[in-house]
């Protein structure tokens, strides 16, 4: 091999050597003949004859080295480059089209790669699982669940895990090397600059060892740190250490003041560590503290509060671990029927669980860009066919001169591959740009979206797709060219019309393009209609001009519900005095900002309480949010501790729990131990979890009757004009009451509503953009084919006109051709769309995937725009001057 390589590098010298050798041979032979008395001239020609064809020998010798094919490839590529340079217009269009298709694909693939394909940033991520609990339809009595849920939060029946159950899952199974709970717990940081609310997590002590990381300076949590009543310790992130502690190496000796307690810093995490929570939310998590669960919590099996991550023992399968858990779950159900009946633990690979919410939509987007790549391929194939037809003369001359079919086909393939390569380069450049746009548009709630970068894998995939497309769109023209018959082509060369089969090919390609873009248009239509329907959904309240914010009072400074209530009452009074404020409200949570739920008993059916949304609200709540009162009254300042407990319910609750009776005067309570509350009012239904949420039965409690288990945390202001202008004023009032109290999550309700629809808006925008590009490409394709066809038929059309055909008839002729193409494409596309929209079903809102209006709109738009594109060449055909057309012949 080495000898070969050296030979290849020295091939020119080697060829000269060989020639010299052969010349010597012939000369010596001639000399020998001369010595036998033959004339010099005669001798040389005899010697030549005896030697044979020198250049053939040379070729054969060279081919013996096996580099012939490489050299021919080089020739093919050079020739291809030259012929592409000769037609810069064609080349530019082809490269740009390809670049557009590949660029979109690359950009979307980059996101898909980062979000779904890349391994999680932990050692041996395949063994990491996420654990949650599932509750069968019929709920146990003793259960309330709050706290953040990871990944596919809100899936019906799925809930966070109870710390008490977790102890059993940990001790009674053998499948896991470790299981650790974690839950998001923001705390107020004071003592370092302005008071700030920073996000952190409470975790079980083995949390970091489950994930396979260890604090670099300092130590990990120990079991002792995780005991109830242990000295508070904290591990901070590298980033927090850099920013807040000035990268002080002595930081380990320091303490942090969180929610009024002092936490000793025991460790700093390695740079760029991310908790699984952070893979799904954009917030920075700055610190970790041990859960140190209280004995009360550890005895409460119905309290589902935490997320759980675990690491499987080596060699244990998911199924085995699941079976293991099932045994424990049923044992717990027997042991604690009150809380654990119908509750079972379930696990899934952590990686799958994190992305389960966006998987569908990302695959749909990737599929859509794959369709775009297909369309660009078809488009370029079409262009190449036209070009091949124009080069028929050249091809047939080469045939006549003895080129092999293979060689001609290779030549055409070389051109398409070169185009594909250029397209790929353009695609990667464009892809980088599109990716930035994509990331700017993407909602921050997509897991791992912050980690999106282009790496070699993306380039590799782009290059692979480009090569594949190069072959795909090059095959048809190459096949066509190889089929050319030298004699026939030379005969027709002067007129340059494509053969019948070529015309058919182009028609097939154009129809395909129309079909593919129809699929995208239908998809975009369905999503658009879903979005419009969604936007039209009535929230049940008026989000305009309302500012909401979070004022989370730390338990240490405000230990009792009464002290927190007093803070809010004072704040309400001060803020109401600000100019521009119409009304003020506070509650545990505002709509679309999370909440509290549980079972409620009524005096009609004390045993079987329905699962409802619960909320503790201030007297101004209904007025501030614009929730209409339907019957009875709202809350007043008189509904305070000491006064008879009261509740307000929504219409759905009234219908469900008090059918055929007046709910006013009836009594309800949340949980068996809670006081009975008299229903004093009925308000309009609202969609608490957003426009695509369900309307659920709702019970409102008076915030001033402090028997509820949640803390007041949200504050809202309805203003006369732009609510943004009040942010500073409200903040100042908070700080005048408590200079260490941070104000966070300040948003207008309109922003909140918009953000809730962000993911859907993102999908819809992208798919609509893709469909528009597809439509554009299809129209260009159709336009090209028809223009070409008209210019090819100049003679024929000229004769028709000369024989008295009216321009209208010619117009009809061309349009009929276009209609045929579009019709075929539409028929194919409708069939494909019906089949493919199956994957879209879960992304739709309020309509079925077979919604005929979306299909009709897509077909109508496509047909109208493509007929418009057809009109231009058709008019050109009908406006031909017969004399000129015939002369051209």
């Amino acid at each position: 091999m080495f000898a070969r390589l050296r030979h290849f590098l020295d091939r020119n010298r080697e060829a000269a050597d060989l020639r010299e050798e052969m010349r010597l041979h012939v000369e010596l032979r001639a000399r020998q003949l001369e010595q036998h008395g033959i004339s010099a001239e005669e001798a040389r020609s005899m010697a030549q004859r005896q030697f044979g064809n020198a250049s053939m020998v040379e070729d054969h010798s060279r081919e013996a080295w096996g580099f012939g094919s490489w050299e021919r490839l080089g020739q093919d590529v050079r020739l291809a480059a030259r012929s592409l340079r000769k037609t810069p217009g064609f080349t530019a269009i082809a490269v740009l089209t390809l670049g557009l298709g590949l660029g979109m694909n690359t950009a979307v693939f980059t996101v898909v790669d980062a979000v779904m394909l890349r391994a999680l940033p932990y050692p041996e991520p395949g063994r990491l699982v996420s654990l949650w609990e599932e509750v069968k339809r019929e709920k146990p009595d003793d259960m309330s669940s709050h706290g953040s849920q990871l990944g596919s939060a809100g899936r019906s029946g799925r809930t966070t895990v109870s710390q008490a159950n977790l102890v059993d899952y940990r001790n009674r199974t053998k499948s896991f090397s470790r299981l650790a709970a974690f839950s998001l717990t923001p705390k107020n940081l004071t003592g370092v600059g302005t008071p700030e609310r920073i996000a952190g997590e409470t975790v079980d002590w083995p949390f970091f060892s489950v994930l396979g990381v260890a604090p670099v300076p300092g130590r990990d949590f120990l079991p002792e740190d995780d005991r109830f009543g242990a000295d508070p310790v904290v591990i901070v992130t590298h980033e927090f250490w850099l920013r807040h502690l000035g990268a002080d190496p002595q930081a380990l000796a320091q303490s942090l003041n969180l929610d009024g307690s002092t936490y000793r810093i025991i460790g700093v995490l390695p740079p760029a560590f991310r908790s699984p929570t952070q893979l799904t939310i954009p917030d920075e998590i700055a610190f970790y503290v041990p859960s140190a669960a209280s004995p009360k919590l550890l005895a409460s099996h119905g309290d589902h509060e935490v997320n759980v991550v675990g690491r499987l023992r080596p060699g244990v399968t998911l199924q085995a671990a699941q079976n293991d858990l099932k045994l424990v779950s049923s044992a717990l159900a027997r042991q604690y029927p009150g809380s654990n009946r119908n509750v079972s633990a379930a696990i899934a690979p952590l990686a799958d669980d994190l992305v389960s919410g966006v998987r569908q939509s990302l695959w749909v987007l990737l599929g859509a860009t794959a369709l775009i790549v297909l369309i660009t391929c078809v488009n370029v194939a079409n262009l190449l066919l036209v070009r091949a037809t124009a080069r028929r003369h050249e091809t047939s001359v080469r045939f006549a001169l003895g080129a092999s079919r293979l060689r001609i086909a290779r030549q055409f393939l070389a051109e398409s591959l070169l185009l594909a390569l250029a397209g790929c380069a353009a695609g990667i450049l464009l892809g980088r740009l599109l990716m930035k746009v994509l990331l700017a548009l993407a909602p921050k709630t997509i897991p791992l979206i912050a980690t999106v970068t282009m790496d070699w894998r993306v380039f590799a995939v782009a290059a692979a797709i480009a090569t594949l497309t190069g072959v795909a769109f090059g095959l048809a023209p190459a096949w066509q060219a190889a089929q050319t018959k030298a004699s026939e082509a030379l005969k027709t060369a002067a007129r340059n019309t494509g053969g019948r089969s070529q015309v058919r090919w182009r028609a097939v390609l154009t129809a395909t393009e129309v079909a593919l873009s129809l699929v995208l248009l239908v998809g975009a239509g369905l999503l658009l209609k879903s979005f419009v329907l969604l936007m039209g959904v009535d929230l049940g309240f008026q989000p305009e001009r309302v500012l909401a914010m979070n004022v989370n009072l730390p338990k240490l400074r405000y230990p009792t519900p009464e002290s927190r209530l007093m803070f809010y009452q004072q704040l309400e009074e001060r803020v109401r005095a600000l100019p521009g404020v119409q009304s003020v409200a506070y509650a545990n949570r505002m709509p679309l900002r999370g909440g509290w739920g549980g079972d409620v008993e009524t005096d009609l059916a004390p045993e079987s309480g329905p699962d409802v949304d619960l909320q503790a609200v201030s007297p101004g709540y209904f007025e501030t949010l614009g929730i209409p009162l339907m019957r009875g009254r709202g809350f007043t300042p008189a509904d305070r501790n000491g006064a008879p407990p009261v509740a307000v319910v929504n219409q759905t609750f009234a219908r469900q729990c008090f059918p055929n009776t007046d709910p006013l005067g009836h009594r309800v309570r949340h949980g068996t131990g809670a006081p009975w509350m008299t229903v004093v009012g009925v308000v309009n239904d609202i969609r608490r979890s957003g426009k695509d949420g369900q309307i659920r039965p709702q019970v409102y409690l008076s915030a001033a009757q402090t028997g509820y288990p949640v803390a007041l945390a949200d504050f809202a202001v309805r203003t006369a004009s732009d609510p943004r202008q009040l942010v500073k004023g409200v903040q100042a009032q908070v700080w005048s009451l408590d200079k260490d109290q941070p104000v966070t999550a300040v948003h207008t309700f309109e922003e909140i509503v918009t953000a809730a629809a962000a993911e859907r808006r993102f999908q819809t925008t992208l798919l609509a953009t893709f469909a528009t590009v597809a439509l554009g490409l299809a129209v260009i394709g159709l336009f090209g084919v028809l223009s070409y066809s008209v210019s090819q038929r100049t003679g024929e059309l000229g004769i028709r006109l000369a024989l008295g055909a009216r321009p209208r008839a010619i117009l009809g002729l061309v349009l009929r051709q276009a209609g045929g193409l579009i019709g075929t494409g539409v028929a194919l596309g409708l069939a494909a769309a019906l089949a493919l929209t199956r994957y879209l079903q879960s992304l739709l809102f309020g309509i079925q995937r077979t919604d005929w209006t979306a299909y009709a709109a897509a077909v109508g738009l496509l047909a109208a725009i493509s007929m418009l594109a057809a009109l231009v060449p058709a008019r050109r055909g009908s406006k031909l001057d017969p004399m000129a057309a015939l002369r051209e012949e």
């Binding site: 060989l18 050798e21 052969m22 032979r29 044979g52 020998v57 080295w65």
Partner: protein, 97 residues
């Protein structure tokens, strides 16, 4: 085989000498187009059965002299053995006829 045998017998030779040698030894019975010698030589170079070195002829002309490598000797032995078997087989068929 012929080329290898010739080189084995006479040591380094250049192309013309190989052709002449074969012609003379076979007394003109085996005469091929002399040019075909060269692709054959190139193939043997690739297989490293022979090596070529540039030298001068008696008339002081530049010429490439080929000689056998150890692999070339082995190959020759293999080919001679195979030839022997085939020739023997043919001979036996002819004898029985």
């Amino acid at each position: 085989m012929l080329i290898l045998k010739t080189l084995a017998r006479s040591g380094p030779l250049h192309g013309f000498e190989i052709a002449e040698s074969i012609r003379k030894t076979t007394e003109d019975i085996l005469q091929v187009e002399e040019g075909s010698l060269y692709p054959a030589l190139q193939r043997m170079l690739i297989k490293a059965w022979i090596v070529g070195e540039w030298g001068k002829t008696e008339e002081n002309r530049r010429a490439r002299y080929y000689r056998l490598t150890p692999e070339g000797h082995q190959q020759l032995a293999r080919e001679l053995a195979r030839y022997g078997r085939v020739a023997g087989a043919i001979a036996r068929i002819l004898q029985t006829a």
